[in-house]
């Protein structure tokens, strides 16, 4: 009972946050709604008895990604008058909603095809210890590759983001 009501509340926050992110005109408001959605998602992970993911989601997604994007938004400091003019925003949203509907139905159908239900989880499920055991036994190679990916991303971000040099000095 308690779980269900928590689930409903978290779901509400999730949906409201994501809807707001799409609808708000001011960039920062969109970013804050996004943060709300991500926090609610972390709660979802917790409901799924996956404590490690709950932690990771908050630390990385909310703590790094969302914060970074907010940092960039603020540092660009675009004025309201320079924001893109989106007069037809709701028309576009309506059209795309219409077009997305079949895909959504298809996805939902395929996901719920099997009609399974939750069973009792084994003790220690979702703990850091179990995560580490799985990660460093079966999933070592992807883990290493992802670390290289992070390195590449870092280098790429620096290269793309640096100021253009003037060639005549």
């Amino acid at each position: 009972m308690l779980e269900n009501s928590i689930f409903v509340i978290l779901a509400l926050f999730l949906l409201l946050g994501s809807a707001g992110m799409v609808i708000f005109k001011q960039t920062l408001f969109s970013a804050i709604s996004f943060m709300l959605a991500m926090l609610a998602l972390a709660g979802m992970f917790a409901l799924l008895e996956n404590s490690f993911l709950f932690l990771a989601q908050i630390m990385v997604t909310v703590g790094a990604v969302v914060v970074l994007s907010m940092l960039v938004i603020v540092s660009i400091n675009i004025q309201e008058r320079n924001l893109p003019v989106e007069n037809t925003k709701f028309q576009w949203i309506a059209l795309s909603t219409l077009l997305v509907t079949p895909l959504a139905i298809l996805i939902y159908k395929s996901l719920t095809h099997l009609h399974v239900s939750f069973e009792q989880s084994e003790p220690g499920y979702g703990s850091l210890k179990m995560m580490g055991a799985t990660l460093f036994s079966e999933w070592v190679l992807p883990f290493e590759i992802v670390s290289i990916l992070l390195l590449a991303a870092m280098v790429g971000a620096i290269v793309i983001g640096r100021k253009e040099r003037h060639h005549d000095t």
Binding site: W92, L95, S96, L99, V100, P102, L103, I105, L106
Partner: protein, 628 residues
């Protein structure tokens, strides 16, 4: 391969070789080579032709020598072989075409010396020889038609030989086009002949054998249409207007093509189809009437002309009229006999005229000549013989052949034709002697000295003069003591007409009288002084302008066609076709433009297109999976 094939092939091969050498020749000065090869080909052909003639005359009267070159078209029962046949008629035509042709080639080597395009000239000339021989030796109407067309082509090429002057090109075009108009009728006739005789072969022999299969009205139509072709080729009214303009070509061309050979192809064709024309005497009468009218018409115009070659051109048309009178009335042997004698004296007249023209530095107006009797003795003598021949004064050749024709006209009881022909005889003598007197007797008004003539030009004249003098005796008919060897030799199915000996003598005397009257009139007016006729009276105006026939044709035919062409171009082509294309093009451009708008470079839109595609796909999959 048989001799007949060689006779036709040698001039064609020679034409090709001459053409190739001329094309790749840089300086184009090998006159000796071109002349030698150019004369050799007809000479060889004439030797072979005389050989064949000897062979055929040794056989019985209706024997035919056949030779097949190769199979051309085989479509089921429609077989056309390139085949030749030599019967008596072909052999006669062959003999004078090749011999006189060779003489004219020799003459041309002298006449055209130093001209640009010497090699080209002989190439075309040999092409003509080959074509004419093809025409005469053909075994079936299609091959004859091939020769017919090739002869027309050679005529076009040779008339327009001096192509730097656009008037010559126009004359060549005119000749070719009028020829084509005639050929239109000819082709339809051949097609009709084929349709009605389907399945029973298509050579002259087989057509003759099956002539009974065709009903009378169809035969009449075929005969008329064949004659339309002859009208174009042999310059009868109304398709004659090209012949005077064809004098723009070099004089040897006029001598060979427009005097002796090409223009007589029409007469030959009627004679060849004699079995057909014997069935339709009405058409024959019509042919004779046209012939008579053409003869008289041309004679009247010739009496007022000032250009020496044009006088001879109209004279040719007139004599051709005589030939058609003969073959129209069924006297085929007389017609061919006149072709034979006419070739001699007309070629001689043209060659003599050419000699005079060359001697006077290319002067062609007779009123600027005069008194050449003393200075060009040989030319004078030979031309005198030719003029006597053409005027019908015995014992020269023209008298006998013309007499035979007039006798046939009288005996056929078409007296209007006979009267026209007799009047024409008088006019013939008149204008021919007029020309002779003005050129050789009347006062000299020249300023330049005469150019000397080479032997190559003078010797053929002598040979032809001999021929003009004596050839008549070949056809001497019984009334005068001969046995009409020519008629007996050639054995064409003439309509038999009987004329008593006394009538023959009377007619003969009448003809001579007419000729003498004409000569006397010419003598009276033109021996002493030669004054160019001015266009003062209405009659003179009309005749000197050739009765304005050319202008009439221009108004009736040329202008409407030209207007139609311009209309087609401006209206149908530019506005119509281009307009439709323009609409199509702009339609494509428009729809292309529409598609261009899809690629506006904005990522959002591309994402939307992807989404739309995905939505469609999902719908499809949902449909397959069985509903929502």
């Amino acid at each position: 391969m048989s001799t007949l094939v060689f006779i036709v092939l040698i001039p064609f091969v020679s034409a090709f070789v001459l053409g190739m050498v001329y094309l790749f020749d840089v300086k184009k000065e090998r006159y000796c080579f071109y002349a030698a090869l150019g004369i050799l080909a007809p000479m060889l052909s004439s030797v072979l032709a005389l050989n064949v003639g000897w062979q055929v005359s040794a056989l019985e009267t209706d024997a035919v020598v056949h030779a097949t070159f190769f199979k051309w078209i085989t479509l089921g029962s429609f077989n056309i072989d390139v085949a030749f046949m030599a019967d008596r008629l072909s052999v006669v035509m062959l003999s004078f075409i090749t011999v006189i042709g060779t003489l004219i080639h020799i003459y041309a080597a002298g006449y055209m010396r130093g001209e640009a395009g010497f090699g080209k000239f002989f190439s075309y000339f040999n092409l003509f020889m080959g074509s004419m021989l093809l025409l005469v030796l053909a075994d079936n109407p299609i091959i004859m038609f091939v020769g017919w067309e090739l002869v027309g082509l050679s005529s076009y090429l040779l008339i327009g030989f001096y192509h730097h002057d656009s008037a010559n090109i126009k004359a060549a075009n005119k000749a070719f086009m009028l020829n084509r108009v005639g050929d239109f009728g000819f082709i339809i006739a051949l097609a009709l002949l084929f349709i009605t005789l389907e399945g029973s072969g298509y050579s002259f022999a087989s057509i003759e054998a099956h002539i009974g299969l065709i009903d009378h009205s169809m035969l009449t139509l075929i005969g008329m249409l064949l004659f339309v072709g002859a009208m174009g080729k042999s310059a009868q009214i109304p398709l004659y207007v090209w012949l005077p303009d064809a004098m723009a070509g070099p004089t040897p061309v006029s001598a060979l093509i427009h005097a002796g050979t090409m223009v007589t192809a029409g007469v030959y064709m009627v004679a060849r189809f004699s079995f057909l024309y014997n069935e339709i005497p009405d058409v024959g009468e019509y042919i004779a009437i046209i012939g008579a009218f053409s003869a008289l018409f041309a004679a009247v115009i010739a009496s007022y002309q000032s250009d020496i070659k044009k006088i001879l051109a109209y004279s040719t048309m007139s004599q051709l009229g005589y030939m058609f009178i003969a073959v129209g009335l069924g006297a085929y042997s007389s017609g061919i006999f006149h072709v034979f004698t006419h070739a001699f004296f007309k070629a001689l007249l043209f060659m003599g005229a050419g000699a005079v023209i060359i001697a006077l530095h290319h002067e062609q107006n007779i009123f600027k000549m005069g008194g050449l009797k003393k200075e060009l003795k040989l030319v004078y003598a030979t031309m005198l013989i030719a003029t006597l021949a053409i005027s019908g004064i015995p014992p020269f050749a023209g008298f006998f052949s013309k007499d035979a024709i007039l006798a046939a006209a009288f005996a056929s009881e078409h007296y209007s034709i006979w009267i026209a022909a007799t009047l024409t005889a008088m006019l013939t003598a008149f204008y021919m002697f007029r020309m002779l007197f003005i050129v050789f007797f009347a006062n000299a008004e020249r300023k330049n000295d005469l150019l000397p003539l080479t032997k190559m030009m003078t010797w053929p004249l002598i040979v032809l003069a001999l021929g003009s003098a004596t050839a008549g005796f070949l056809g001497l008919n019984e009334a005068y003591g001969g046995s009409n060897w020519f008629g007996g030799f050639i054995d064409l199915p003439d309509q038999s007409r009987h004329l008593s000996h006394s009538s023959e003598y009377m007619l003969g005397i009448l003809n001579v009288l007419m000729a003498v009257i004409g000569t006397a009139l010419a003598y009276r007016f033109y021996v002493k002084s030669a004054i160019e006729p001015k266009t003062d009276t209405l009659w003179r105006h009309a005749v000197i302008h050739k009765f304005y026939i050319d202008e009439l044709y221009d108004l009736l035919v040329v202008r409407p066609l030209r207007y139609l062409s311009v209309l087609s171009d401006k209206l149908i082509d530019q506005k119509g076709v281009d307009g439709i294309l323009g609409v199509l093009v702009s339609g494509y451009k428009f729809s292309g433009g529409l598609f261009t708008r899809l690629q506006n470079g904005k990522v959002r839109y591309y994402a939307l297109y992807i989404l739309a595609g995905v939505a469609l796909l999902s719908l499809k999959i949902l449909d397959v999976l069985g509903g929502i």
